[in-house]
């Protein structure tokens, strides 16, 4: 299926519209709440919770014997929350570290979920096919009621974030200070954790247990590189998340046999990679360029300081000197002289150079700075 065909379908095909809307909303929700998870240094908690949701889905299916997504969602939510609180319990009450607790809950809950799933698959009433979509996600199975649920939860999360924006910001940055100002940080903590778990759980159907955590982290990690404002970061993360969702769904819908989860995650990963390298303020590329510029500047400053020391000995500071004098000093080249001239720090006349007024001032400033630093 080509791009144009896809766009045509997008305007005509109801199912595709539903699915696209669903992943867009889901991506935005994940981006928003993921920003909080990342800033709270709970990046891997999402991974553990999404895996821990699996047995809940299986048990909900065993009890209700339907594939009603809302029933399965509640099962997933309960089991995800149990996992989240058990992790806290392990860290609090034993000497096991948080990474072990995360890994334990993740693998043990998932294993139990697998046991149940394989058990269900071999049950006689073969209504069970399709639970596998929760492993890697199949956005195409979203129906309009699922999308309504997503929209509702996304709206609710947005509302809660807006209402408690200032409190959440304070909690994330400085929890002790928040407490000293009289805010109930336990309430805020439970609130934000609950919404993160909820977000993970409703994403399972489209993105799957295995990759859900990346959906939470990647847009936030990418967004962080472009801004120094929490609000802009959350907004950007939501946009990145939406784009990953929509593009991922489009690609996976246009080729057979591709689960949505991995495609969405790869697209989000491209966002991350691009941001890591090309973000103007924090990106690796510009960091490297800045580093080289600084090095060059340092070199020029050294040359200038050397010239200053020579010029200082003359009454007339703009007195010309031969370039040869500089030979004692190793760090100059024609290019660096040229650069100094471009900045109007020196004048070069054939084989003679002289400091300008501006150059002398600059050099004496640099010199004083050096003195002060020592």
């Amino acid at each position: 299926m080509g791009i144009t065909e896809y766009i045509d379908l997008l305007f005509t095909d109801y199912t595709l519209q539903t699915v696209t809307l669903g992943t867009a909303v889901l991506g935005a929700l994940c981006g928003m709440l993921g920003s909080f998870a990342v800033l709270r240094k709970q990046s891997l908690l999402g991974d553990a919770i999404s895996h821990a949701a699996l047995p809940g889905i299986a048990i909900a299916f065993l009890i209700t014997e339907t594939k009603n997504s809302n029933a399965l969602l509640i099962g997933a939510l309960i089991s995800g929350l149990i996992g989240a609180f058990w992790i806290r319990g392990i860290v609090k009450n034993t000497h096991l570290k948080s990474d072990t607790a995360l890994g334990l809950i993740l693998s043990l809950f998932f294993g139990f979920g697998m046991l149940l799933l394989t058990f269900i698959q071999k049950m006689p009433n073969a209504n069970q096919a399709g639970l596998n979509k929760y492993l890697f996600g199949q956005a195409a199975t979203l129906v309009s009621s699922d999308v309504w649920t997503m929209c509702f939860i996304a709206g609710l999360s947005l509302l809660v974030l807006l209402v408690f924006w200032k409190e959440f910001k304070l909690l994330l940055f400085d929890a002790d200070y928040a407490k000293s100002l009289g805010f109930n940080i336990k309430f805020l903590d439970v609130l934000i954790t609950f919404f993160i778990v909820l977000c993970i759980v409703i994403g399972l159907q489209a993105v799957g247990v295995v990759l859900m955590s990346a959906m939470l982290l990647a847009p936030a990690a990418a967004a962080r590189q472009w801004t120094n404002s929490l609000g802009v970061m959350v907004l950007l993360a939501a946009i990145f998340g939406s784009f990953s969702g929509v593009l991922g769904t489009a690609i996976s819908a246009s080729s057979s046999n591709l689960s949505t989860g991995p495609v969405i995650v790869l697209i989000a990963a491209v966002f991350v990679l691009f941001s890591f390298v090309f973000s103007p303020k924090r990106g690796l590329l510009f960091r490297e360029i800045r580093y080289w510029n600084n090095r060059n500047d340092l070199q020029l400053h050294k040359t200038l300081a050397f010239m200053y020391n020579i010029a200082k000995t003359h009454k007339n500071k703009e007195h010309p000197h031969t370039v040869k004098i500089l030979n004692n000093f190793q760090g100059f080249t024609k290019k660096s002289l040229q650069k100094l001239e471009d900045r109007e720090y020196i004048k070069v006349n054939k084989s003679m150079w002289s400091l300008t007024e501006k150059g002398f001032d600059k050099a004496s400033n640099l010199y004083n700075q050096l003195e002060n630093n020592e």
């Binding site: 800033l39 209402v163 408690f164 924006w165 200032k166 409190e167 910001k169 304070l170 994330l172 940055f173 400085d174 002790d176 200070y177 928040a178 407490k179 000293s180 100002l181 009289g182 805010f183 962080r224 801004t227 120094n228 404002s229 929490l230 802009v232 970061m233």
Partner: protein
């Protein structure tokens, strides 16, 4: 009339993991003093501040701010935490951090407006950081970060200031600027309690001092009690070495 106390601490005992870090502390801090809390590492100085602020729950004893529990009085108290206690890579600006000082008086849900912004800008100016207001906080030097924290506390417009090592890792200029602001605040009748490490500057900076080492060793005016006897009791025999440093 009986002397008015800004903070009264009564039989306060605090334990971490059931190991006491503060033992049966009684403390009455008069209004309007500029007080240093001194003591060796692990003496419970930060713990004392955090217990006064209700951040840590004590296992025994009580704290009163102007005669009432902290919960009812949190608007009277401003807190300057240790600089290392937060993530300075957090996506926010200097002005934004200072604005946080207004959140307490705003209460739940209400957003800061023009009035709060104006107060924050004034506080930034007072600490000499106005030109850095839009700077991302990770791009500030240690001294500048400490000034931002001080400005955040100033915005609270409180009567009591609790500061946890405000001079740690700051340059000499910042230290002078901070102490000047503290002295100004005291002149305005505020009460200031400062966890302090540098024993040599205690007589110069402070007028009141509390020696702490798990137990309270002594508390009172610097000129009366800041002496070798109390220092030895607090720091053990090694105190002279630490003064010479």
């Amino acid at each position: 009339m009986e002397k008015k106390y800004a903070i009264t601490v009564d039989d306060l005992t605090v334990a971490y993991n059931y190991k006491p870090v503060l033992w049966d502390i009684d403390l009455a801090i008069p209004e309007g003093v500029l007080m240093a809390i001194v003591g060796p590492n692990g003496a419970g100085k930060s713990t004392l501040i955090k217990s006064i602020l209700g951040i840590i729950k004590p296992i025994a004893g009580s704290v009163k701010i102007f005669g009432k529990p902290y919960k009812k009085q949190h608007q009277e108290v401003a807190y300057v935490p240790q600089k290392g206690s937060v993530d300075w890579d957090f996506p926010t600006t200097a002005l934004d951090v200072v604005m946080m000082g207004t959140y307490g008086s705003l209460g739940w849900i209400k957003r800061p407006g023009q009035k709060e912004k104006k107060a924050a800008l004034e506080a930034l100016e007072k600490v000499g950081m106005l030109s850095f207001k839009s700077r991302q906080i990770s791009q500030l030097s240690g001294g500048q970060q400490q000034r931002i924290f001080l400005a955040r506390a100033l915005v609270q417009n409180a009567s009591i200031y609790l500061m946890d090592e405000p001079f740690q890792g700051v340059d000499a200029t910042t230290e002078k600027a901070i102490i000047n602001i503290l002295k100004e605040l005291r002149k305005a009748g505020k009460t200031l309690i400062v966890v302090h490490h540098d024993l040599q500057t205690v007589p110069e900076y402070f007028d009141w001092v509390t020696f702490l080492n798990v137990k309270k060793i002594a508390t009172g005016p610097v000129k009366d009690i800041f002496n070798d006897g109390n220092l030895t009791k607090t720091y053990g025999i090694n105190y002279k070495v630490s003064v010479q440093e």
